[in-house]
Each structure stands twice: as C-alpha cells, then as structure tokens.
Symmetry: C2
Amino acid sequence: MEILYLAIAAGVVALVFAVLLTVQILKSDPGSEEVQAIGRAIQEGSMAFLSREYRLLAIFVVGMTIILAVFIDLDVLDKVPDTIAGDNEGVPKTAIAYLAGAIGSALAGFIGMTIAVRANTRTTVQAQRGLNSALRIAFNSGTVMGVSVVGIGLIGITVVYWIFKDANIIAGFGFGASSIALFARVGGGIYTKAADVGADLVGKIELGIPEDDPRNPATVADNVGDNVGDVAGMGADLFESYVGSIIATIALAAVGAGALGVDAPIEFHDNLFILPILIAAIGIFASIIGTFMVRTGEGANMGRLLWSLRTGIFGAGILVLIGTAISVTMLGLDFKLFWIVVVGLVAGQIIGTSSEVFTSYEYRFTRNLAETAETGPATVIIGGLGLGMLSTVVPAIVVVVAMWFANDLAGTYGVALAAVGMLSTLGITLATDAYGPVADNAGGIAEQAHLPPEVRERTDALDSLGNTTAATGKGFAIGSAVLTALALMAAYSVVVDNINEAKALEEGVAFVKISFDLSNVDVLMGLFVGSLTPFLFAALTMQAVGRAAMAMVNEVRRQFREIPGLLEGTADADYARAVDISTNGAMKEMVVPGILAVAAPIIVGAILGPEALGGLLIGSIASGFLLAVMMANAGGAWDNAKKYIEAGAHGGKGSEPHSAAVVGDTVGDPFKDTSGPALNILIKLMSIVALVFAPIFL
Amino acid sequence: MEILYLAIAAGVVALVFAVLLTVQILKSDPGSEEVQAIGRAIQEGSMAFLSREYRLLAIFVVGMTIILAVFIDLDVLDKVPDTIAGDNEGVPKTAIAYLAGAIGSALAGFIGMTIAVRANTRTTVQAQRGLNSALRIAFNSGTVMGVSVVGIGLIGITVVYWIFKDANIIAGFGFGASSIALFARVGGGIYTKAADVGADLVGKIELGIPEDDPRNPATVADNVGDNVGDVAGMGADLFESYVGSIIATIALAAVGAGALGVDAPIEFHDNLFILPILIAAIGIFASIIGTFMVRTGEGANMGRLLWSLRTGIFGAGILVLIGTAISVTMLGLDFKLFWIVVVGLVAGQIIGTSSEVFTSYEYRFTRNLAETAETGPATVIIGGLGLGMLSTVVPAIVVVVAMWFANDLAGTYGVALAAVGMLSTLGITLATDAYGPVADNAGGIAEQAHLPPEVRERTDALDSLGNTTAATGKGFAIGSAVLTALALMAAYSVVVDNINEAKALEEGVAFVKISFDLSNVDVLMGLFVGSLTPFLFAALTMQAVGRAAMAMVNEVRRQFREIPGLLEGTADADYARAVDISTNGAMKEMVVPGILAVAAPIIVGAILGPEALGGLLIGSIASGFLLAVMMANAGGAWDNAKKYIEAGAHGGKGSEPHSAAVVGDTVGDPFKDTSGPALNILIKLMSIVALVFAPIFL
C-alpha cells in the first residue's frame, strides 16, 4: 500500500503548489483604488452567489446523505445479500463517502473562484505593463484551480479507499462530486448567461453601447458570471470526470483481470487497482512540471503564446506516458495497458483539436459561418446549427475507435483506463482553460476603470487565446465525460452481476448475468427514455436562461429608464440589484433540471428494472454526447464568427452582418456555456446514480 | 387467399375513387386567362423538377436493382444457405420487388402532384365564391393523393406477395419505396426551402415587399416548391411508412404466433399474415367513407371546418376498429390484436395532437414564443429551440408506452401491428395533410393575379387550417416512422436468426440467436454511429438548403438589379430562371445525403457485423426520432408565432417583434420542411436496407 502514500503525497504536493502560486498572485500589485473597488464588487457578487448556492446545496446533500445511509448503508429494504454487505451494514460508509465527495467538489470550486476573483484585477494591472506578465498572472490563477482539483480529487479517493477498502463505497465519493458539479454547472451556467445575454440585449443591441461599458447595470453581474460559471462550474465538472474515471477503473479491476486473459493472481488484481491511482499521481507531477514549460518571454506574439501553452500540455503528456510505461512494467502488468493510456491521451487531443478547427476563425468552418451573416441572422443560425451538427462526426468516430481499441486490449477496464489517461494531465489542461475567464474579467475591469485602450487590447488578445484553449477544453471535457460515463455504466453492470450472483447463491438458484439486449423491450424503453433526457434537460436549462435573461433585460431597462443620467454617464448604475437578479434566477431555475437528473435513473430503475436502467444510461450517453458537442461547437463558432467580423471582415463592427452575427453569438451563449456543458454532467451523474443505487433495483 | 382478392379490390376501389375525384376537379372552372397562365407556370416548373428528379433517380434505381439481383437474388457471394434460398436463386425476385416499390412510390408522388398543380388554380377560382367550395376542391385534391398512396401501396404489396409468396422478397418492395421517398423528401425539401428562404430573404426582409408578390422572381419557384416538397415528398414519405409497416408485420407473423403463446397451427400463422393486409383494406374503405363525412355547409366558420375534417378522421378510425374487431374474431385470432390496433390509432392521434398543442398559437407554448420576439431574434431562436426540445417528451413517452403495450400483448409482431393500426386511416389523414399546399398555392396565385383581397383572406384561412392539420400530420408521420422502423429492425433480427439457424444446421453446429447486448462493444459502437447519422444527415440537408437558398438570393438580387422596372412593377421577373436555380440546387444537393443513408448501414454491417448493425438501427431511430420531433415542432411554432404576430399581437406586421419572428420562421423552414421530415425516411430506410441486405453481413 505504499502506492497510497505516494498518491497522497502527490495530492499534497499539488495543494502546496497551489498555495505557493496563490501567495505569488496575492503579492502582485492589486492596482489603483478604482480597479480594486471594481474587483471588490465582483468578489462580493461571486461570494454572495457561491454562499447562497452552497447553502441551497447543503439541504440537498444532507437529504441525499440520509437517503444513502438509510437505503444503501443500513439497507433497510434488505436488498443487499449478506455475503456482499459483509460488515458494511450499520456503518453509513457510502453516505460518508458521498459527503466527502460533495465537500471535495465544493472546496475545489471555492478555491478556484477565490483565486480567480483576486487574479482578475491583478491581470488588469499587469496588462498595463505588457502581454506576458498579464498572461502569467492569469495562467497561474488557472493553475491554482487545476492543481487543486486534481489534488483534492486524488487525496479524497485515496483516503476514502484507504479507510473503507471497498470499490463500491468510493462510488459514493463520485456521486457526491457529481451532485455538486451538476448544480454548480447548471446554476453557474444560468447565472452567467442570464447576465451576459441580458447585458448584451439591452446594452449592445438596443442602446448600442459597447460591451462591459460601466453604464450598463449588468456589467458586474456579467463579470461575476464568468467566475461562477466558467471557473467554479468548469472545475466541478472536471473534478467529477477525474474522480469518476478513477473510480470506474478501480471498480472494473476484477473484470480487467479476466479481459487481459491472465489466471489473475491476487496481486495482479491489486496492481490493476493501483494503476489508475498511480497514473493520476504521475499526472499531478507531470502537470506541475508542465506549467514550468509554459515560458512567456517578453515580446512573444500570440502564436508563440499558444504554442507555449501547448508545449506545457504536450510535455506533461509525454511525462505521463514515460511514467506509465515504467509503472506498468514495474507492476508486472501487461504492456497493452500502456497503449490504452496512449489512446486516451491522443483521443482527448484529437477531440479537442477538432473543436478548435470547427470553432476558430483561423479555419474555414467559422469563416464560412461569418459569411452567412451577409444574408442576415436567419442564415447565421441555420449555418451555425448545421456546423454544430456536422462537428459531432469527428468526436463520435474518435470515441468509437478509442472505445473499440481500449475494449479490445483490456475489456471495459480498458475503456475506464483510457478515460484516466485522457484526464491524467488535467492539472495543466484545466489551467489553460480556467485562465480564460480571468482574462475576460480583466478586460471588463479595464473597460470599467477607463484604462487606456492598449490595456483592453492586451486583455482581448489574452481572452481570444483563452477562447481557443476553452474550445479545446470543452471538447476534452465532453470526450472524457463520455468515456467516464461508459466506464461507470460498465461498473454498474458488474455491481448488478455481483449482487445477483450472491443472491442466487443464497437462494440456491442458477445465476444469470444481466443482459442489455436491445431485443428486450425493457432495455429499448430505457434507451428511448435515456435518449430523451438530454433533450429535456437542454430544453429546461435553455428556457431557464431565457427566463432569467428576460428578468435581467427588464431590470436593465428599468434602470436606464428610472435612473436619470445613467445613459449619459453622470449617474451610477445599481450593479448589486442586477447581481441579485441573476443570483435569484439561477437559484430558482437550477432546482428542476437538477432533480430531474438525479430522479430519472432512480425512477426508471425502480419501475422498469435494472435492464431498462442500462438502456437509459446508454441512450443518455449517446444522445447527450452528440447534443453536447453540437451545442458547444455551434456556440463557439458563433462567438468567433462575431469576433472575426469585429476584426474587420464583412464590414466589421456596426455593420449589418455584425448585427446578424451578434444574434448568433447570443443564441450560442446558453448553448456553449449552460446547456451544452451541463449535459456532460448529466450523463456522468446518471451513470453514477445507477452505480450507487444498483442494489435498490434488484 | 380470397383475402388477397379483397385487398386488390380495395386498392382498385381507391384508385377508381381517385379517378372520379380527379374528373370532378378538372370539370371545375379553371379561371381567367391570367390565373391559368400562372397555373401553367407552376405546372411546368413542377413537372420539369419531377422529370429531372425521376431521371436522376432512375440511374440510382437501375444501379440498385442490379446490385440486388447480383448480391441478393443470384447470391454471387454465396451467403444465403440453400435451405433458405430454395428456388429463389436464379430469379431476381428481390430486384423485381424493389423496382415495383420504386415505381409505385414514384407513381403515387406523380399522381398527387399532377392533381395538386391543377387543383390550385381551381381553388383560387372557388375562393372567389366562398370558403367552402374552395375547401372542397383543395380537400378533394388531397384525397386523390391520399387514396392513391394507399391504393398503389396495397395493390403493390399484395401482387408482389401473391407472385413470390415470400415475406423476405416483399422487403425489396419496401426498399424500393424508401429509395424514392428519401430522394423525393430531400430533393423536394431542398427545392421548396431554397425557394421559400430565398424569396423571403430578399423580398420580405431586404425590400419589404409582401409574400407571393408577383414582382419577386422566386414566387413561382416558391409555389412549385409547395408541390414538389409538401405534396410529392410527403406522399412518398407516408407511402413508405404505409408499406413498411405492413411488410414488417408480415415478416414478424411467425414470431407473433410464438408471442401470442399458441401452439400455432399453420392456418393461425397464415391468419397473422393476412391480418395487416386485411386491416389495410378495411382502412381504405373506411377512409373513403370518412371523406364523405367531411361536410362543409356554406357559412361554416374555421372552427367548424376543422371539426368537420376531424369528424372524417375519427369516423374512419371508428370504422377501422369495427372492421378490425370483426376480422380478428372471424379469423379466429386472439382478441388482444384488436387492442393493439386501438393503441396504434390512439397513439398516432395523441402524438399528432401534441404537435398541434406545441405549434398552434391557440395554445400557450407558441404564444409565449411570440412574446420572446419582444426582445429580438436571439430570444426567439433560443425559445424555439427550447420549445422544440421540450416537445419531444410527449411523443417519446407515447411511443415507449405504445411499444410496451403492443410488445406485451403480441411481441414484436404487436409493435408492427400497432404501426399498421396507426397508418390504417392514412387515406384520409394524408388527404387533410396534402390539401394544405394546394390552399397555400391558391393564395399565391390570387396574389399574383391581383385578385380582390377577400380571395386572399379566404385562401389564408384555408392555409392556416392546413397548417394545423399539417402539424398533426407531421407528428403522425414521425410516430408511424418510429414504430415502423422498430418493427423493421425486429424483422431484421428474425431474418438474421433464420439464416444463421439454416447455416448452423448445414454446418452441424449449434445455433445461437443474435444478441444486441449493449455490453458487446460492437453493438455499442453501432449505436454510437447510429445516433450520429441523424445529426450528420440533418447537418448536410440544412447546409444544402443554406447553399441553395444563397444561390437563390443572389439570383433574385441580380434580377432586381439588372431588370429595370421590376421593383416598380412595370417589368416582368424571369420566373423560369429562379425555378431552374432551385431545381439545380436540389439535384446537386440531394445526392450526398441520399448516398449516406443507403451506404451507412451497409458499411457498418459489412465492417462491424450484424450486431453492430442492430445497434446502428436502434441508435438512429432513437436520436433521429427526437431530432425529427424537435425540428418539426420548433419550425411549426416559429411559423405560427410569426402568424400570431401578423394577426396583430405584439405590434403586428412591420413591427420590431415581427422582424424577429420572421427570423425564427426562416430558420424553421429547413427545420420543419427539409431536415426534420427527411429524418423520418432516414430511420426507415436504414432499417429496410439492413433487412434486405442482411445475408451479406453474416
């Protein structure tokens, strides 16, 4: 078990590194009083949101902890055979693990956001000096988030596993992480887009004032939104994928031994258990080293900066592969497992790159989309939706090929391990992702503090770089979510078999493995309902954004109407009121989709049985995956088509095509930042609910 | 086999009825010289399109006939066990059946369109007299289409079955019908929307001239589009569903005997064979009687007209149920089968009604959508997409429940029979559907011929009634497509089992039934690829519409620029050139999606095997179904939200909200009339390709 020490050590190193970076960020110049005042408003708004969100979630988490303790741990329905329950009964192990997962996820989001809302003003200040020092602060802030997520994740899993020594129990940890992630993504997503859409509709479209203009009452809410949605939400999402993939791999270790065709001595099993944890630990060190490879010498241009970020990611990837090769050899495992990790890492990169190709205006897809703006908003929308749908092809094929390859080499254990491989360098990939919102915020602050235009230009450059890495990151988040969800589904079927086998033994009847045969009408019904859930979930979240944005529009209009001198710039807007509107909207609107996601698998499992539940999971994964890719890429392409026009194409800012592109961008906002990303969590959450609640359905 | 005489008699009655109605329509006043001239332009455009389309399709059909003859009938790869092939080998039975299906489908489309382009001017003329006589002509034209489709379909299946006496061979007939349907839907859909979008973008949005204004060069093309897309395309679509459901039921008759738990004497099998044909024959008589129940006394208002149409449909449904109850009893079959037909009919009505509730501005969904137009086009688009996604819930649940019920009563045979039940009254449901485009055309002609405004008001009223029945019809088309596709998928698995069993017997090995277990990575890969195909197909067709519309926009702009006096109304537009642009666009653009649909199942079956192919079918059915419902309902709701505003809400015509709603309507055009409906055919076509080519993959 020395390996568990190593894992905890890696986690601690990650957290220490986060603390060191935090100190470095905080030491940096916080800027003029005006900049600090704006920063404080964003900090307060963000913290107010997070504290309200966490208080609401606390109710849900406590309720779910009790449900788990009663129905799973204490097994009051007496569903778990004694041979499996062992001495578990009586101790609320799953409930404890769940609580730990929820707290871990909340903590990761909290840390990331706390730093981000302090790094934003400091990035603005550094942007007055130059591009590179600004990038450094923003990237460091992202790194704090990245390493905190992996550090807390790995420590959490390891400790829970160490205490309970039971693969089934750590699923509870994943469920805890999922619950928080879902609400964080949905709540944060609704918040940020209500503010963004609300600010744009009145400010840019109706009144024609620029983005982030201090006269716009929704400006601060918009900045807060970047933090609660894109930082805390994204962190919680990937925290969940990260722990989910490791948990699934551990749960499938026993099956893996069979698939690898060995006569599985016990230690071989143990080593298959250990491998994902070890790869994760190696990944942490590799990511930290990778961040040092991100060198930003003064005078570098954008292409070089992007290349510098990539060097860090690729460097970390290569280090992970070297470490994995050594580990697999030293643990005496089949070298095939190394190739699976390669497949996972490469698949993640291809999916990410494909997102970039479809959404960056360096490539023809988005340029063609910008051209459709010449014939008005309708063709922009048709073009963007078509682009989004078309962009599902590469990710789907890559996932299918990766799945085939991993499964061929090591069965479902291989699929889970591929997800672990894909996510092994999360510490640094998340850093490149989470720095974007900080740069975005910095630009907003520069605008509000009336700093010279070159500051805004520099932050815009950083923001645009951030958009590229965010596109890659989104593709990556979806790809890893699918593999993780598939692995969790496989783990679910193993758990069902184990329980059924024990029951059959107890009752002296023959044991039959569960089958998810599509000729079985139960499976088919589950699959249809499962395919439906992402559509329903996306509909609910989009409509939620619509309603919350409408409330914001009315508030902004009201302020312009009722506050004399606001439009002329002689009076101040009531930012706090706008922040409040967004917060209330998000709190109210996140409940229904959240409950739906948790309840759907439980209801289907309870009413239609475990076979139908398997169908539900696969159906939701397949349709959720495609819908998520479509929404993310359509949204990204609309955003960048607008930016391309703003950069001077097709008449530039203020032209008819520009207005058309703004419509596309506004539609894309809830696509790419609310509904799309929330689908990632939906599919993972439903799989883990099935895994945790499996005994109930048998 | 007397029942086969009855079936053919029913088919002949249907065709005779069609001829009588045609004579009646042609006897009616063709109108002034000006009206007739416009009518001739539409006729010529429509026929030019159809003849080019059919010539292109002839190449495809001949090629496919040869492929079927060589690989299936002559079995050159020697894939079919001799015990199954029997004396089939050597005679290109499947190829002949295929050819018959293709010709039948083309014929049905041709007849429907030939009448529609003659009924349109006559409807305009009658609209000068009153609402009801206009409805009568238009509805009679729709009825010709409806009864031709069912008449040709039933005669075709019966004759092919009579000659070859082989359930596998008639699948070829379904495949022939599918091939034509796919190209007709896609080609017609691209044509109609390129013309519509092109006409609206320049005419309504850029120049602010009214819809159907004779100055707009795309006006005739727009009218032609209604005929080639909404008449010929819709007819081919439902022809395919109709024959597909009967074919699947016949193919599943043997399994049905098992599911009904009887010791199946041979005649019982035979009766299960006969039942779907009998119900179809009863349905034809019931539909014809139903059309006489559509009474339109002078002075009736719109509500009464709608009620009158419904009376016809419900009346026909009740007659079918009475006939089915008698048939089931007389054939000595289990009375459960009667309840399955009830379920099919009721499910179809619920799905249709749900489409109406989501898309009619009599209900709150579309009214709320109209309200989002107050905040501009972006919120209209977000709202419409949300509405479309939300509207998938009811149809999905209804299909799941109907599937469960039918399967519980009679296995997969039950599912197929439910589809037959749903489609039994197609003769009249299609009539209520196909009359809409005629009314739409009549309005366009009235506008172009400068008839008094009350004529246009009357045709608008008919058109609006047509929109309501079209929404119901679209829901109905999708629901029946899903049940049909599921039944065809079940038939595919039966065929695979039969071949495998025969092979196992030949080779003296144990026979194992095919399993589509989702734990099998092949099935899972197939499912992912299958879920992907509708997204890809929708993307390709939407982009095709975008490109074709862009060409039309440029042509219309060119004419306004280069023809002096056109905008002032002193010079004539070059309508023929615009018709040509749409035709060329449709011809060019329909090839790739068409080939994709046929090739995808063959490629997956050949490379990944028959299990993966099963996964592909289910994946495509699930995601295609939801996407189709979403697109159809979002499109319908946008259309009617615009009409609601035009009727005076939110500022009425010419207001800002109206422009926003027009954007929604334009996006909705390819949604509801091209991509959405084409998905129906995609899922059926892929299933039938799998069924016909099954031997190749084993």
